[in-house]
């Protein structure tokens, strides 16, 4: 993806995935015999985003922000409560059964933990063939074998791996098998959920480079979901930052890292450790107080206002800001922020106030609304370990 192509707003044909107002709410049930819904976890609560053909869209956020759920909802692995996902001209969210299954050929997923996402009793050959057979891509054995070899070569595994089982491989190699499985059906879109976070540092780079190589060779489109900002910045063309079920900022990767505008993005970026003592000594940290509020009872208004060092007395706690283009010189149209006061913060007119007074107790709101009924058992399903 060239810079020029990013700048000009994409022509309609360029958008591969168009997510419109998607919401995923999980009911919180209570009761032994009769399940009564006593509330919802608002895992994803109104997200619009476009992924263009051939680009890598990175989705970052902390655990519980809904980034994985959003990734799964785009593939309809998690049926959205509301909203549309238009993939290559078809609304995925409305598809059911056979139609949806066929469409899945074009959108594949790579999971975080390669050991638990590969069937331990299937050999690599059978793992890779399964998807191809399901989509009718296996015509004759000879062609299939050639295809398998080609796949293994593409992901950098020896051909002898075909007869082996997942436990015989190291973590990095397993992740390569997971990637080969996604590639097997010749997809257009690959959603990678934390593709490297289960791997050792020295192996992460191998897999990151592999993903980039494959994208160049096969013209793939990626949606990479990760908590590690450095990884996301490295591989993404555009990045969306999520907080409590919604995007708070979206921009080209370089723009975002050069000039983060949302207070949350700023805090997040200042918190990422850099392996360089010289930089570390000079850095100014924006320490956020408290934890992520419960997605079952998100704060009114701007969802970040309870922890925001730039919170203003008006608007922040009443109006929910939408993603918008800011009117600041030098900031491109593609850089969108969901903050009422982005301009003032960027110009330095608004200064962060002391955060001591802002200590937030996430459980207070929760117990006010539902007593202690919202057990972690339900919310755990939507949080993802980093």
């Amino acid at each position: 993806m060239t810079a020029a192509a990013e700048q000009t707003h994409a022509q309609p044909g360029d958008v591969l995935v168009d997510v419109q107002g998607i919401k995923v709410h999980f009911p919180i049930k209570k009761g032994v015999i009769f399940d009564k819904t006593i509330g919802y976890v608002y895992a994803v609560d109104g997200v619009d985003l476009q992924i263009r053909r051939g680009e890598t869209y990175g989705l970052v956020g902390e655990s519980g922000c809904g980034k994985s759920t959003l990734g799964r909802a785009i593939l309809n692995l998690e049926p959205p409560t509301e909203g549309k996902v238009v993939f290559d001209g078809t609304d995925i969210a409305s598809l059911r059964g056979e139609e949806l299954r066929r469409k899945r050929q074009h959108m594949q997923m790579v999971f975080q933990d390669p050991l638990s996402s590969l069937d331990p009793r299937q050999s690599v050959e059978s793992l890779l063939l399964e998807g191809m057979k399901a989509h009718g891509l296996v015509k004759d054995t000879k062609a299939a074998n050639a295809r398998l070899r080609e796949l293994l070569k593409a992901v950098g595994l020896p051909a002898a791996s075909l007869q082996k089982y997942p436990h015989e491989f190291s973590g990095g190699q397993r992740q390569r098998i997971g990637i080969a499985r996604a590639l097997a059906v010749d997809p257009q879109l690959i959603v990678a959920d934390e593709p490297v976070s289960a791997l050792d540092v020295s192996v992460q780079a191998q897999v990151i480079n592999l993903l980039e190589d494959l994208q160049d060779r096969f013209g793939l489109t990626y949606l990479v979901v990760a908590h590690d900002l450095a990884v996301v910045r490295h591989i993404s063309d555009r990045v969306g930052v999520m907080y409590l079920g919604a995007l708070v900022e979206e921009a080209a990767a370089d723009d975002l890292y050069a000039a983060p505008m949302h207070p949350y993005t700023r805090a997040l970026m200042s918190a990422v450790p850099v392996p360089d003592p010289v930089v570390e000594d000079r850095r100014e940290r924006i320490l956020l107080n408290g934890d992520l509020p419960s997605p079952a009872n998100p704060p009114k208004g701007c969802r970040f206002h309870t922890r925001c060092p730039w919170r203003q007395p008006t608007q922040c706690d009443t109006d929910r800001p939408a993603l918008r283009v800011v009117s600041i010189d030098g900031v491109p149209e593609t850089h969108r922020v969901a903050c009422h006061f982005a301009e003032g913060i960027a110009s330095g007119e608004l200064q962060p106030h002391k955060v001591e007074a802002e200590v937030v107790d996430p459980h207070l709101g929760e117990s006010d609304a539902h007593g202690s009924l919202i057990g972690p058992a339900t919310t755990v399903e939507v949080t993802d370990t980093p």
Partner: protein
Amino acid sequence: MTTRAYAADTRSGQALLSVRDLSVVFQRHGEQPFAAVDGVSFEVRPGQTVGLVGESGSGKSVTSLAIMGLLPARGNRVTGVADFDGTDLLKLSSGDMRDRRGKDLGMIFQDPLSSLNPVVPIGVQVTEVLERHKGMSRKAAMPKAREMLDKVGIPDPDRRLKDYPHQLSGGMRQRALIAMALACEPRVLIADEPTTALDVTIQAQILQLLGDLVRDSGTALIMITHDLGVVAGLCDEVNVMYGGRIVERGLRHDLFAAPRHPYTHGLLGSIPRLDGQRGEPLIPIPGSVADNLPWDHACAFAPRCFQPIDVCRSQTPGFVEDGASALRCHNPVGSPHGHTAQPDHAEVNDQ
């Protein structure tokens, strides 16, 4: 907080905990013995933060468990010396060691949920330490527990004392664990991946807290982590471990500015940096950590090294100390034999 005697010698350079030639060999019945830690030596002084960095399987956690006497009683052999203020911790009986743990030596683990008792309120868990080591009654210990929770930044400590671990968030649990570890003002604190299970914004809070505690109380901190970024910000001295041995040691600034071991060099080159150039491919270290690394007649890193020479495959490299730095390598980065060329794209051939 009482001013303690050691506060005076913070800068004097007297080692508080000195680990010498520590080895841990695991042996299961009918299997080859396996040296998880092999001749590890390092020191930590009051008020100093020493980092042990390595990937999974490098032996960094086993090192800390051996020092704390927390390895299982059977199936392993621990040799070497862990000299704490004149006492060899490895020679203490389990009862004596129990008196030391929590009092002189504190430990923070990676996963706070599994390190806390799920059916006991936080307050009781913190006071338990004080009752055991200081002989305080629970009633007398409660205000102290409250003070500790307050000190580690837990809001509304009075209410939190009565809460159970599941009622706290991950960051709060880790703070509670730190409060427990610090309740008796230990002189050495070992933190084993204390922020790995936490989000970055919470990680920043916890690292800040640990840094402040070390500065204010003169505690010696041993920081075990895989994250070089965490090390860069917090540790005074860094030990890089590979295959159970320390392969490089250096002061924070020296090590990051000019890593000499190819492994350290490779690690730094393979991490995407938030402030780095985008679009440049990362330089990975080929292969992955093998299960049983042969240090016997070779350098265990040689199969993954980008500039091995013949001697790397035939002789064990010695640990050469030079002031604050130390190195275990036949052909360090930037040496006459070494070529500065970057390794080619990794081949994956580690099976």
